[in-house]
């Protein structure tokens, strides 16, 4: 049956001029790349701004090429009520409820396996567990401590500036402002050193 249905399709495509077909293929690829950029631009435009404090990262994970690896205070979290609950997979999605402290820097309040309601100024950010979902006898429950990745861990910088940023980060002076959508998806909006903006991300 499959051969019956695909053969006419191939014949119909063969009748279309080659320029149109190759042009459509090129436009499809350009459109997919553009969608990636628009999607991120939408997060920056519509997302709630959240300031996050970076922290030193294990030296073995340091600069690769010219991007800085960023770790945050909210990267490693206690599992809380999630501990010993079934994790479902090795790297599940989790939702972290954040709230600002007195300095305006957001801290984690709790971790959840699914989306939960939040009230302003709380923000819910979505991440994927890197470690902490393989405990228990069958290695399928949440552990004591969870390591979460938020898609905010890499920041590409101009050549030669990575080392400077790493030094600042290791002194605890580097923080970021992330834009977070209500769905929990996040993107880096700007970098701050001692609370002052040093890199502002344009939408496009």
């Amino acid at each position: 049956m499959m051969t019956m249905s695909v053969a006419p399709l191939a014949e119909r495509l063969a009748r279309i001029p080659k320029l149109v077909l190759f042009g459509a293929a090129a436009l499809a690829q350009v459109a997919l790349l553009t969608l990636m950029i628009i999607d991120r631009g939408q997060i920056l435009r519509d997302g709630t701004e959240v300031t996050l404090q970076t922290r030193p990262v294990d030296p073995r994970d340091f600069l690769r090429g010219d991007y800085v690896v960023l770790g945050y205070d909210i990267t490693q979290l206690p599992a809380g009520p999630l501990k010993d609950q079934p994790s479902g997979e090795r790297n599940p999605l989790v939702y972290v409820k954040l709230a600002p402290n007195r300095d305006g820097v957001y801290q984690a309040l709790s971790v959840h396996a699914g989306p939960v309601a939040v009230t302003s100024p709380e923000v819910l950010i979505r991440g994927r567990l890197a470690y902490g979902a393989s405990c228990g006898s069958k290695r399928d429950t949440f552990c004591d401590t969870l390591t979460v990745r938020y898609n905010l861990e890499s920041y590409f910088v101009p050549q030669g500036e990575g080392r400077k940023l790493e030094d600042v980060r290791n002194q605890g002076k580097l923080s970021i402002v992330a834009a977070v959508l209500p769905s929990g998806r996040a993107a880096i909006k700007r970098l701050l050193i001692d609370g002052k903006p040093v890199y502002e991300e344009p939408w496009f």
Partner: protein, 421 residues
Amino acid sequence: MMFDRAYRQRLEADLARWEADGVIPPAAVAAIRVALPPLAPGINIAVVVAIVGGLLIAAAFLAFVAAHWIEIARLLRLAILFAGILTAHGLGAWFARAGQPMLADLCAAVGAIIFGAGIALVGQMYHLGGDFAGGMLLWAVGALATATLTGSRGALAVALVAASIWSCMRVIETDVPHFAFVVPWLLAGGLALAWNSRVAAHLVAVAALPWWIASAFQAPHDFRPSFVLANGAALLFGGGIALAASRRPRAAQAGSVLSTYGAFSLAGVAILEATLANEVFRTYAGLADQPLWTISCGVAGVILAFAATATTRSAGTAFATGAIGLVLAAVALWMPRQSGEPWLAYAALLCAMLCLVVSGMLDAARPRIVAGWLGIAGVIAAITWAVKGSLLNRSVFLAVAGMAAVVLALVLNRFVPRSRE
């Protein structure tokens, strides 16, 4: 195309000899030559030199852009990427119109590769480094769209590589089989059928292997890799011979390619099982712990092979079905943690590989014969060099198996009519 050219050369030599020997009259030779369809245009030396020149210019351009990447404004970088994609496909359209399908195919494939590089570079420019597997899926989607629109086998290869990496990464992340891979795989299979292309069928068959291997070895600890792989090989081989039995030439051609990979997979699994059947490796759980989807694949493979046998009434297909059944029996019935050596499993695996050779001989399928011989050699090697157990007992087993084979050969020699040399 390459095989077609070799066939024509051999046919031309045969025609000249038969004409000289007076076997066929000159008029018949001329009629045969007229009846042959024209050969598709191949690649001449000038085209090869042009390809090298084009690749060098492209590499020079990429190196120039890379050298100034940081100084170039972000939107200009994006424009360069888009221009690269558009240029590759523009050249592809030009070559297609100029009657150079191979160069057009190459350009579409290069466009698909630039698209993949574009995903990585956009990810870098916009700090989107989080989901590598997601990037691979996007690459596969774009390359598959290109392959569908342009008919490019190269773009199909790019799509299947990207989809395989995506799927294997998801298997590693989740520890469960990634069934979503079936969607791009079936779409690629549909393209292979639509194009009636052996090259595409080979690509689709090869793409099935990493998925099965990743599923077998990344599965939870109570899985047996050889069990999962055996059921996968059964489905590939059974599905292949069922397709090959189809009356539709497109399906039959694709089926013959799939069955070749199925036969080699079955031989590989037989060797693996003979190696792992030794009790020193017996740390896995039993048949009851194996997942239903895996068993269903094996059962489906056997049913498809039976259906092909019933349709074709071919002894070769029946022997192929027997080979599948025996390998599945060997991996399913030999209970893990059972003490002693798995003589029955060894015997079933040897019989399965013998069935594979016989099946290939009866169906004139040379790859199946090669797979069967490799399987026999590998299984004997695995039995002989098993890590644990009595070497004397294995010697007795091999001697008994050898004598059984000699007796069978004598019986066959007596009753089966010999073919003319």
